[in-house]
Amino acid sequence: MEVTSCSSKPHVLAVDDNLVDRKLVEMLLKKSSCKVTTAENGLRALEYLGLADEQENALESNESKVSMVITDYCMPGMSGYELLKKIKESSATKEVPVVVVSSENIPTRINKCLEEGAQMFMLKPLKASDVQKLTCHLVN
């Protein structure tokens, strides 16, 4: 298997506290030809994006720019919604599409996320067709 250069593959940051879901989303994204970084909670995700409180310059903090963030809604500590807000509040990352996933179909939750700027809200469990829908727009 050949290694393609970083810039040709979309780089997705997947955030989920559940190990099984993390492994599944990672493999689904890899199969859709994405480079994947996973984070187990919102705080780790912010650190990776260079948005944590003690970090000053977002662009210096990650090796290759993140093209999309997929985050679970229900996480201990910082929820996916709170993570979405922080990403959209920062000028460095506000253009990065954020997809929120959840196992629960709650309209108020969905609307809240979309209003806050989420690209899409998807229901778990994630399937290959769901991920293909998300990533086909990223390949440029």
Binding site: V20, D21, L24, M27, K31, P76, K124
Partner: protein
């Protein structure tokens, strides 16, 4: 009072299942089926019994030449995580959030009956009924053991064949 030992509970269940090995009886009367055929039949029975749903097919489809052991890896991860959670659940602390979490992972892996049992447990916990929680926790643990034992049998056959089969529904 001794602490609940999930490990011993599972070991006991495994011993019970070895004595009823459905594959050994068939081999006496007919030509021994190939490992691939055994696995296909075994998996089909798991789908038919409602142990697995179409989400498991998604998991199988992710296994390929580059990731030849994916199904085994993710099922093993699921089992390790679940056993840890069940042990914690028996302490009756944060039962509700563990039930939510386990509903999520069993749903993601396609363990349909386990997911249904987790949903019942979550409802019992939302309703704060200790009696129903005990019943639901027991039922869920049994579903988990059934799932785990079936996979244990499957993994003893050649695990290379557990990936996606084009003919499989």
């Amino acid at each position: 009072m001794p602490a609940f030992s999930l490990f011993h509970y599972i070991q006991f269940q495994l011993q019970q299942s070895y004595s009823v090995n459905l594959l050994s009886k068939r081999s006496v009367k007919m030509a021994f089926p190939s490992k691939e055929a055994q696995i296909k039949t075994f998996l089909k029975s798991m789908f038919d019994e409602g142990l697995l749903d179409c989400q498991f097919t998604q998991i199988q489809a992710l296994q390929d030449a580059n990731n030849p052991d994916f199904v085994n890896e993710v099922v093993t991860l699921f089992c390790t995580d679940t056993e840890r959670i069940i042990t914690e659940m028996n302490k009756f602390i944060k039962l509700n959030s563990y039930a939510v979490r386990l509903t999520g992972s069993s749903s993601s892996i396609g363990a349909a009956r386990m997911k249904a049992a987790c949903v019942d447990l979550r409802r019992a916990s939302d309703d704060e009924s200790k009696e129903r929680c005990l019943q639901a926790l027991d039922a869920m643990t049994r579903e988990y053991c059934l799932f785990r034992n079936k996979f244990h049998t499957l993994m003893q056959l050649d695990k290379g064949f557990i990936g996606m089969d084009a003919n499989q529904q």
